[in-house]
């Protein structure tokens, strides 16, 4: 990427140079000479590129290297010594039942929320694409959960699902579905807690996915669904054989982003349940945090977080492939 423009500007500079040489002397030469030297300088390109490299190195590269180092050591918060211990950390966390629950939960949490988000955002995108009164306002409302800070949203949900003050339970009692004090403990029962964090995470990601799909949907030329209508296709056939296949590349993007945002995120889990009850909502990032930061065992925490890497590498690979294919088409 950085090489190509430099090469092409080299060529431009050369032709400019020869043109300047061939031109009559009355023409002001200095503009061309100046632009040529500026384009040829390797420093300008490097200087423009440097901030991105520094940013990646400082924010991503450094911590990643540290995490790998820690994972093979016995470093703890507060201690100044660090020794190489080989695979000891990995051996101990693999034996931990909490770790195995976290891995399982991470996949369930990610998979189920992505299915909900995908179905929901497809429906929303199709609904919001149609013209109706107040469409702009609805689009704004749908976008709100994405714009609001995630911690505030999650704290709001914590109240909504609270065992004592839950408005949901208040309504359930009011319409006599449940007796007072026997209403469901949304965050206190393992399955309900998992369902709750999944739903809140879906609520959080839905707008983002909807906006991406909406963009993909509006990019489909109007004539194509019209041609399908004339060809005799009904709603479902047009949806599944024309619109969705045409949106596939952009759906891929939405899903891959969604997986990354969910698989590596612990905000919702941390605020709503802190991994409980009995680790039933513990996911890899939250487990890494509880072990490494709150439990002071930096080495084990780093080892846990390294288990995210294979999944993220696979996703990165697919994203690059999608991006590449989009370029070719």
């Amino acid at each position: 990427m950085a090489v190509n423009p430099a090469q092409s500007s080299d060529i431009v500079a050369e032709t400019n140079g020869s043109a300047a040489a061939a031109a009559p002397p009355s023409k002001p030469k200095w503009t061309k000479v100046k632009s040529a030297s500026a384009a040829q300088s390797p420093w300008l390109g490097a200087a423009m590129f440097a901030p991105a490299v520094l940013y990646l190195a400082a924010i991503i590269g450094g911590p990643f290297v540290l995490a790998v180092m820690y994972a093979f050591s016995d470093v703890r918060i507060g201690s100044t010594s660090m020794h190489y211990v080989g695979l000891e950390n990995f051996r101990s966390i693999i034996q931990s039942p909490t770790f195995r629950t976290s891995i399982e939960n991470s996949f369930i949490f990610t998979f189920v929320s992505q299915v909900i988000v995908l179905v929901g955002s497809t429906i929303l995108a199709f609904a919001l694409e149609k013209k109706f009164r107040g469409r702009g306002f609805f689009r704004f409302l749908i976008l709100l959960p994405w714009v609001a800070p995630i911690s505030l949203g999650a704290i709001g949900w914590k109240w909504i699902l609270d065992s004592l003050y839950s408005v949901i339970n208040w309504v359930l009692v009011a319409i006599h579905l449940y007796k007072p004090y026997s209403a469901p403990m949304w965050l206190g029962e393992p399955h309900l807690a998992m369902a709750s964090v999944i739903l809140v995470q879906s609520w959080r990601l839905l707008p983002f996915s909807t906006v991406i799909l909406l963009a993909g949907l509006t990019a489909i030329p109007k004539e194509i669904p019209e041609a399908a209508a004339i060809d005799g296709a009904g709603f479902w056939r047009t949806l599944f054989q024309v619109n969705i296949p045409m949106m596939l590349p952009i759906i891929n993007v939405a899903v891959l982003f969604g997986i990354i945002f969910t698989f590596t995120d612990m905000t919702v889990v941390y605020i709503l349940t802190a991994g409980g009850p009995f680790d039933s909502t513990q996911v890899l990032p939250s487990y890494a945090y509880f072990t490494g930061i709150l439990g002071s065992d930096l080495a084990a925490g780093a080892a846990v977080s390294l288990f995210l890497v294979p999944v993220l590498v696979a996703i990165a690979y697919f994203m690059l492939r999608v991006a590449h294919r989009a370029e070719v088409v």
Binding site: E223, A227, A228, A229, I230, D231, G232, A233
Partner: protein
């Protein structure tokens, strides 16, 4: 096959604004090639889309095969349409594009292959069946769109400017191909275009539209030789008909009928002195523009189209004339055609 009729068909997009299509009454004929001709914004595409069922009429009726179809969906109207952009399904191969209407209309599965091959061979695209639309040229895409339209043997064929995306050279050959194609399958066809050459060349009849109103319906000869109003007179023909305002009428004559006086054998001809101001050589013909001198039309502008123009020079005045039977008369206020009348020319 079936004929298309419209009764007082009207489409108003925004209430209070002028309609895109106003009170259109059409009476199609079995198997004919009907052309909707008009400039952009004339309502021709809206009219076609209403017939297709893609647009709901504000008022009036559409009949296909004698049956009112206003409330029928596009699929129930048994029509096929080729879009200006062709609207091929980009994610499907040519074969799957063509088979799509058969699947959608639940045509028995065992006949699909045969029908697709029939349509493809009719358009000479058998070798492209496994390609994707993006791997095709403009002309090939157009053929795929046509094949997709004919594969289920529709009762009416609607074509929305199907040639406008082709380059000039390809357009001429594609036009000829379309004409042959229509002669061969004989399906009632409605063709929308803004190109008068296409309309004249292909249409059995031409519907000239302007601002949502039908200005004239007739064969190409009728609309060209006997335009119903000044709009039709100037929209068809290049350069357009000369129109000269005179008391309460507008007098019109075609550039090709405005020639050197000696070359006109008609006994009744109107002599006009023509002061040439510009000469354009277009290869096959010459376009002379200038002003008329003396007599009734002194100082009015006129254009002449000639097959031979070598002898003329800019700035000189020549004796030209128009055969009297070639003169058209339009009312000056309504701009509609009126009966020919005798005028004192000098």
């Amino acid at each position: 096959m079936a004929v298309v009729q419209t009764r007082n068909l009207t489409k108003v997009f925004k209430q209070g604004e002028q309609g895109a299509v106003n009170n259109v009454n059409l009476e199609g004929r079995e198997g004919e090639f009907l052309v909707f001709l008009g400039p952009s914004g004339s309502g021709k595409t809206t009219l076609l889309r209403m017939i297709a069922g893609l647009e709901t009429p504000t008022d009036g009726e559409i009949l296909i095969g004698g049956r009112v179809v206003n409330d029928l969906s596009p699929r129930e109207r048994r029509i096929a349409m080729v879009f200006q952009s062709y609207a091929l399904y980009p994610h499907l191969t040519v074969y799957k594009n063509i088979v799509f209407p058969l699947k959608a209309q639940k045509v028995p599965r065992n006949t699909h292959k045969e029908k697709v091959e029939w349509a493809a061979s009719l358009l000479g695209i058998n070798h492209l069946l496994q390609r994707k639309p993006r791997e095709l040229s403009g002309g090939e895409r157009q053929r795929v769109a046509l094949a997709r339209a004919i594969v289920r043997e529709p009762s009416v064929f609607l074509l929305d400017e199907p040639l406008s995306n082709l380059d000039a050279k390809l357009r001429a050959s594609a036009r000829e191909e379309l004409e042959r194609f229509h002669r061969r399958i004989g399906t009632t066809t409605i063709y929308v275009t803004h190109d008068q050459v296409e309309a004249m060349a292909m249409g059995d009849r031409v519907v000239v539209l302007h601002k949502g109103y039908v200005r004239q319906i007739g064969t190409p000869t009728e609309v060209y030789d006997d335009p119903a109003d000044t709009f039709v007179a100037t929209f068809l023909g290049s350069p357009p008909m000369n129109l000269i305002e005179d008391t309460d009428v507008i007098v019109g004559f075609r550039p090709e009928h405005f020639r050197v006086s000696e070359a006109i054998t008609d006994t009744h001809k109107v002599p006009l002195k023509f002061h040439v101001e510009n000469i354009e050589y277009l290869g096959a013909d010459w376009i002379l523009s200038g002003i008329l001198m003396g007599g009734r039309f002194d100082g009015k502008k006129a254009v002449s189209r000639l097959l031979f123009g070598h002898e003329f020079e800019i700035g000189k005045t020549y004796d030209f004339a128009v055969p009297e039977r070639r003169l058209k008369f339009f009312d000056r206020s309504t701009e509609k055609k009126v009966e020919a009348r005798a005028l004192a020319w000098q």
